[in-house]
Assembly symmetry: C2
Homo-oligomer: 394 residues x 2
DNA sequence: GGCAAATAATTCAACCGTTGAACAAATCGT
DNA sequence: ACGATTTGTTCAACGGTTGAATTATTTGCC
C-alpha cells in the first residue's frame, strides 16, 4: 500500500520492470510477442518498452531460435551480459570475499582471501577489502561490464547508512563500513550476512520457494527471513537473531547476558567443543569416519537447532528451512535431528510437511547474494538505472 | 513486485485509493487542495478523483471549517458514513459476536451472545451466528449503511475458501463456515481470531506501530503478526501458532503431541490451575486482592510467555508486543514478567527497547477487527467497489 | 460599501503511455 | 511462386494526468 502518487511515468517504470523480469524468468529467450502474450500487454507496447531496455543496455537480442511452423522468426531477448553488474563483498571471521555478478546472474569474478580478521583493526580489514573490490571492479570493467553498485555482507547488526552497530564475533562496534571502504562514486549498501545469503539462496534457483528461513551457522547463528519473495529485515533491520532464541530458559550463560541461547548448543564453537576438536575440517572428517562422539555432538546440536527452528516455523509458517554457513557441509548429519524436532513440534507438520535442506550456494551464499542484490535492484527498478545521472563523457 | 501489467486504468485505481486513504488518515476533514498538496497530484486530478468517490458514496462533503485568513472556504471531505460497511462475526469458545463497522471506522452495531459453544454441533453454532448476522445486517441497513461483506473470526487454522481445518478447543475439524452461514449474496472470508484481532488493534489507533506482535491468550495462545502495516498470514495461512513454541523442550506433554509448549505454562487453563480456581473472573478478583498464589501463577505464566515472545522478537525484530484476549485484563500482572524476560533475552533490547502493552480493544478486538478488515479492503481498493456488479434496481 | 488579495475548485488544451488495427517483414508449406 | 502464418512496427485514438487560465467565494483594508 505505497502512498506515492502514480503518474503516467510510473506506468512506464512498472512495465519496464515487468518486461525485464519476464525475460529474466523465461526458460528460454522469449520474443516480444511471447512477452506480450504472457503479460497481456499489446505487442506495440512491448516493442516500445523493449526498445528502451535495449538502448539502455539492459536487454540484448540473440539469433532467432529455429522454429517449427510458418511465420517470421522471432528475435530472442536475453538479459544483457555487458550491461550493469553488482559488486558483492563479504567480511567474515576468517575470510574476505569479493565477487561480481552480471544482470543475467552469472558470476563474472570471484575471489576469497582467507585470514583471521579478529586480531586486525576494522580500518585494516576495510582497507584490504577495498583492494579486493578495486581488483574485482577493474577485472569486470575489462570484460566490458559496468559495476553499478556494491553490497557488503557483515556478520552483525547493521543500521541505516551502513553503520555496523555490533558484530560480536568480529569485535566490531560502531564501524562505518562505506566510509572505511571509500569506493568513490559507487553506491554502497551494508547488510547482515544471513540476510544477503538468504537472498542469494532465493535467486540461486527458480524452484526456491517464495517463503523460507535461511539459517546461517557460523560462530554465531543468524537467520535470513524471506517472506513472499522479499527479504524481511524487521522494524529496525535487526531481524534474524536466531542464535539468541532460548532453547532452555535456565541453560548455560550466553555471552549476550541471557541463558540457554541456541548459540550455546548449536554454535560452531559448541559443536567443536562437544566433538572434542578445534577445527571444522577435522570435524567433517570425523563425522564422515563415523566417530561416535562427533555424531552425537551433531545430533545434539541438530536437536537444539530443531527446537528453535520449530518455534519459528510455528510462528511464521514457512514450509522450507535452508541450512547454510558451516551447517551446509554438516547438513547430512544435522538435518535428520532438525527434521525430527520440526516434525514433532510444528502443529501443522502433520498434514503439511516442512522441508529442511542444505544451502545450494554453500559458503559463497553471502557474497554472491550481495552482488545479486545489487543487480536485482536494477532488474526490479530498471527506470532508476535508465534515468540515472550519467557520467559526463568529455 | 506484483507481476501484473499496469494500464491507464490501474493509474486511476491506485490514485482513487490514495485519495481515500489520505482522507481517512487526516486528523481533520481535508479539502481537495490539501490532498493535492499532500499527494503532489494536481488539484485538477484530485477534483476528478474526489468526484468519482463522492458519486460512489465513499466520500462526503462537510461544511467548510471556519478558516483564518482570506480565500474561498474549503469544502471538507470525510469518509461516507452511509456508504459501505463491514460485518464482523466471531466464533469463540464461550461466546458468539457480530458487529458492523462503517467506512469511517465507527462501530454501528455490536452484539455478543455468551454461551459455551463446545457441547454444540458446528451446524447449530453457525445457525445461531447466521441469525446474529441477519439481525446486524437488518439493523445496519435501517441506519442507511450497506453491508458490503463479512469476515468471520475463528479460534483455529483456516484454509483458503473458509474451511476451518482444525479448531482444537472448539472440537472442530473440517467445517465449511461460509456454507454453514449461508449469507446469500455476501462475500464471506474466514480468518484466524488472532489475525483479525491484530488487524483490529492495528486500525484502532493512529499510533499503533506498523510492525507488532499481537498475542491472543485464550484457552489456546495465538499470535497475529503485523509487519510493515500488513498482516502476515504465512506461506499457507497458518502463522502465529505461538502456543506451541517450546519453552522447555522436555516439559509437560501438550495435547499437540509435543512437550513443553507455551500453552502448558501460560494457557488459560494452566494459569487457572496454578492459581487454584476455575473461573477467569475469580482469577482477576484474586489478583486484585493480592492473593499470593494467584500473583505467583501470573508471574510464572508471564515469564514463560516472555521466553517465547523474546524468541519471536529476536527473530522478527518487532518493537511492540500487544497482549490481548484474557491476557488483556491480566496484563497488569503479566506485563512486568514478560518485559523482564524480553529485556534479558532480546539482543537488541539494550539500546532499543521493546514495548509490551495490553490490547486497546480488549475482548472485542477480533469481531471489530473482522468488520474493519472488510471496510479496509474497500478503502484500499475503492475501484473494485465502485465498479462492482450493481444489484439491478427494478 | 467597494475593491484588491487570497484561496478553492473547475475547465480545457496539451501531453504521455497504452491500445488496437493496419501494415510491412520474414519464413514455411504446397 | 504464392498464400498462410507469425513477428514486429506504425499510427490514429483513447484514457488519465498536467498546468495554466478561469470562476467562485471569502477576508481585509480603505
Amino acid at each position: 500500500m505505497s502512498d506515492l502518487p502514480v503518474r503516467q511515468g510510473s506506468l512506464r517504470e512498472h512495465n519496464l520492470g515487468l518486461v525485464l523480469r519476464q525475460v529474466a524468468n523465461a526458460p528460454r529467450p522469449p520474443s516480444r510477442a511471447d512477452i506480450a502474450a504472457a503479460t497481456s500487454l499489446t505487442r506495440a507496447t512491448v516493442s516500445a518498452l523493449v526498445d528502451d531496455l535495449i538502448t539502455g543496455r539492459l536487454l540484448a537480442e540473440v539469433d532467432p531460435a529455429p522454429r517449427a511452423g510458418a511465420g517470421r522468426p522471432a528475435a530472442g531477448l536475453v538479459l544483457a551480459a555487458n550491461g550493469p553488474a553488482g559488486l558483492g563483498l563479504e567480511i567474515n571471521i576468517d575470510y574476505l570475499a569479493a565477487c561480481v555478478v552480471d544482470l543475467a546472474g552469472a558470476v563474472r569474478h570471484h575471489r576469497v582471501r582467507h585470514a583471521d580478521q579478529r586480531p586486525r583493526r576494522p580500518a585494516e580489514v576495510l582497507g584490504e577489502l577495498s583492494e579486493l573490490a578495486a581488483t574485482a571492479r577493474a577485472d569486470a570493467e575489462r570484460e566490458g561490464v559496468e559495476v553499478a553498485g556494491a553490497a557488503v555482507a557483515v556478520p552483525g547488526l547493521v543500521s541505516a547508512g551502513g553503520l555496523v552497530r555490533l558484530a560480536p564475533n568480529l569485535g566490531w562496534r560502531g564501524v562505518d563500513v562505506p566510509d572505511g571502504l571509500g569506493l568513490d562514486g559507487l553506491a554502497v549498501t551494508v547488510d547482515n550476512e544471513a540476510n544477503l545469503a538468504a537472498l542469494g539462496e532465493l535467486h540461486a534457483s527458480q524452484q526456491t520457494p517464495a517463503s523460507f528461513l535461511y539459517v546461517s551457522g557460523e560462530i554465531g547463528i543468524g537467520a535470513g527471513i524471506v517472506l513472499n519473495g522479499a527479504l524481511y529485515r524487521g522494524a529496525r533491520g535487526w531481524s534474524g537473531e536466531l542464535g539468541h532464541v532460548a532453547v532452555r530458559p535456565d541453560g548455560p550463560a550466553c555471552r549476550c547476558g541471557a541463558r540457554g541461547c541456541l548459540e550455546q548448543y548449536a554454535g560452531q564453537e559448541a559443536i567443536l567443543h562437544a566433538a572434542g576438536t578445534v577445527d571444522t575440517e577435522d570435524l567433517i572428517r570425523r563425522a564422515e569416519d563415523g566417530d561416535p562422539a562427533t555424531r552425537a555432538a551433531l545430533t545434539s546440536a541438530g536437536t537444539a537447532l530443531g527446537v528453535a527452528v520449530a518455534g519459528v516455523v510455528n510462528v511464521l509458517d514457512v514450509d522450507t528451512v535452508v541450512l547454510g554457513g558451516v551447517y551446509a557441509p554438516l547438513s547430512r548429519w544435522l538435518c535428520p535431528a532438525v527434521e525430527a524436532e520440526v516434525e514433532r513440534r510444528v502443529l501443522t507438520a502433520a498434514w503439511s510437511p516442512v522441508a529442511v535442506r542444505r544451502s545450494m550456494l554453500g559458503a559463497d551464499a553471502a557474497s554472491v547474494g550481495a552482488a545479486g542484490a545489487v543487480v536485482r535492484e536494477i532488474r526490479d527498478h530498471p527506470a532508476r538505472w535508465l534515468t540515472r545521472a550519467l557520467p559526463l563523457t568529455p
